[in-house]
Subunit: 209 residues, 4 copies
């Protein structure tokens, strides 16, 4: 399918992929300009269409690539030997924040992607999510110790509350940093970690034996 592209030197592939992701992250699919992408990648517009056939193909390629990159890095970093639910999810959230810092364009791209209105683009996205979902879900849940919860508590509900709280906290964090236009890398980690831990201690006191 994209063998023409993959026969290019790795350096050129990276340059092109980064240019595509950057423009998609900035503008979303429809408003992304192939002209700007070609310029940013320092290749001709014709080449872009040779490699990916059309804009949709280009999207499909870099979306698959982006998902792959993030999952690989995530799997590498997550410690599946921790049995404590809260600690495992806390790690997951912190890794996500780290990765957002390392690959900001990819995450902006993912955010933009959630609201695309093109039917074909949406099916590409959905397809990928279905493909990836089960595997990563299993990874996140494997080997957790469910006996840690208090008697009489609905474990699935408790886990959801934990996940939603962590998501709520990190979303709030990102909103603040977006508002103040401070990069994630400028985060005062200690203060945030402390605050996060306080939330998690509260949840532990509530939910754990």
């Amino acid at each position: 399918m994209f063998d023409k592209f993959e026969r290019l030197s790795e350096e050129k592939q990276k340059r092109i992929i980064n240019a595509v992701i950057k423009e998609l992250a900035n503008k979303g699919y429809k408003q992304a300009s192939t002209d700007i992408i070609a310029k940013e990648a320092v290749i001709s517009k014709g080449a872009l269409f040779n490699y990916f056939n059309n804009k949709k193909g280009m999207f499909r390629y870099v979306f698959d690539y982006s998902v792959m990159i993030i999952l690989e890095e995530f799997y590498e970093k997550i410690d599946v030997s921790k049995a404590d639910v809260i600690e495992r999810y806390k790690d997951a959230v912190l890794i996500k924040l780290e990765l957002m810092n390392e690959y900001p364009d990819i995450f902006n791209f993912f955010t933009k992607v959630t609201l695309e209105d093109d039917a074909e683009i949406n099916s590409i996205i959905e397809e990928k999510i279905n493909e990836v979902y089960k595997e990563s879900f299993a990874k996140l849940f494997s080997g957790l110790d469910m006996n840690i919860f208090k008697e009489g508590i609905d474990i699935q509900k408790a886990i959801n509350i934990i996940i939603w709280s962590l998501k709520g906290y990190s979303d709030q964090l990102l909103l603040e940093y977006k508002k103040t236009k401070v990069s994630l890398s400028d985060i005062d980690n200690e203060k945030i970690l402390n605050e996060l831990n306080e939330y998690l201690e509260l949840l532990k006191k509530c939910l754990y034996k």
Copy 2:
């Protein structure tokens, strides 16, 4: 400013507003087509520009309108005499779900609007949010009984966990209905209310005296 528009028959105003909101909800600001809006509203393109001067004006008008509609309905429905934090927020979420059911296009429009690229559009949005925020915030918090929480619990953190959990639950609900393409109005209300109450009972047991 928009007096030409407001001199139209109410029926026509509604038809136009709905057409604009629908297109904005589907495509976002930049990709929304004034051509399609005019066709959907069964008016000429020229008329659209007579009423709103330009696309930005059109956006401004229906955005203000949408915010007003939703807030009015919300204020009418929310019961500010309930002092129980969880019950108050549960009501807020249920009202939001009801309104999403009643005005699905407006909520899709609001969702799309969060990711607009256009600087002027963003400032229109921000301006409105600033105008509206304090008032509605006060409404949601006024008269709450904060003594209900267990001793030693950080009240702000507890409230955040409640809010995030409610948001998490309703987001999950919406995702499910979006996936199965079932309208919110087809919700089996009893089942959902039961499930929601279970979550809230869990939180009460954890956080309340």
Copy 3:
């Protein structure tokens, strides 16, 4: 033809005519906006088209009107008893400058009109010029004493040189005032009259006995 218009009160006719001339003077025929004219005249756009049928009719009416006004004023002011060619033409130029000061919009309108590209508009203009030309030409030449020129001089050529010099001088004057954005009414008359007289003395010395 335009009886509907002419049945209006004189005050209203004036208001409308002035609005039309002003817009035509500013923008030329094609770019003149009937909307702006209606607003300036404080009448409805529909009325404008009732009075003049269409934009062309409107043009025809105010062009005829403008030519009539200027000619009437000119004939009233020109002293046909002066037999001296140079003095007669000097008067004509000075009267023209006076009228430009009194009716600046009309003269700007006339200037714009010379470069219209609409075929029908051009034929309206040409028609009027042909109608008016002979009469005013006769007025300007009647009763001149041609014996004043030196023997052996081609009188028609001498007259042309006089006319062209006067035109050159007044054009230069207008250009200066346009450049410095000073209104004609702010002209330092004495200085200009002196300079003009010096030109005319030179011509008299050359051409007269």
Copy 4:
């Protein structure tokens, strides 16, 4: 700036430039249609905007081009060794008439251009005039013998009368040819030259020693 355009074949450049000048000469800036220009030049509308970015850029390019062409031809033809004022200006006028015959669209364009309403267009024009004025002025005046005038004559005034007379004569000529719709190239040169010389002899007899 316009390198994309200048990389085209000379034939295509000419075709496009001529189409642009023709439309601008006919309609003026605002009313000129890029659609018609593209059709006349037998290129796509998109191409036009690739070459010149926008309508203003297109104007700027062909205006600069036109000024350059005319000045080059003029400088090539004017004989600066003639010291006689009248002969020098006579040459200038004859060259102008020749060039009007050779490049009628350019001169119509220049005429239209004097009455443009658009502020940016006017500043482009003024800028160019300022750039070109001094140089061409110097060319026209350099090496003239001012001792040829009679004693007691104001030389500047005499020169102005010469210039205005020449301008008057050539304007009259052009008006006649415009009226009879005869092209300048059909001019009976001998008759005109004789008449022009008679005017100039009259001026010489008046003004020269």
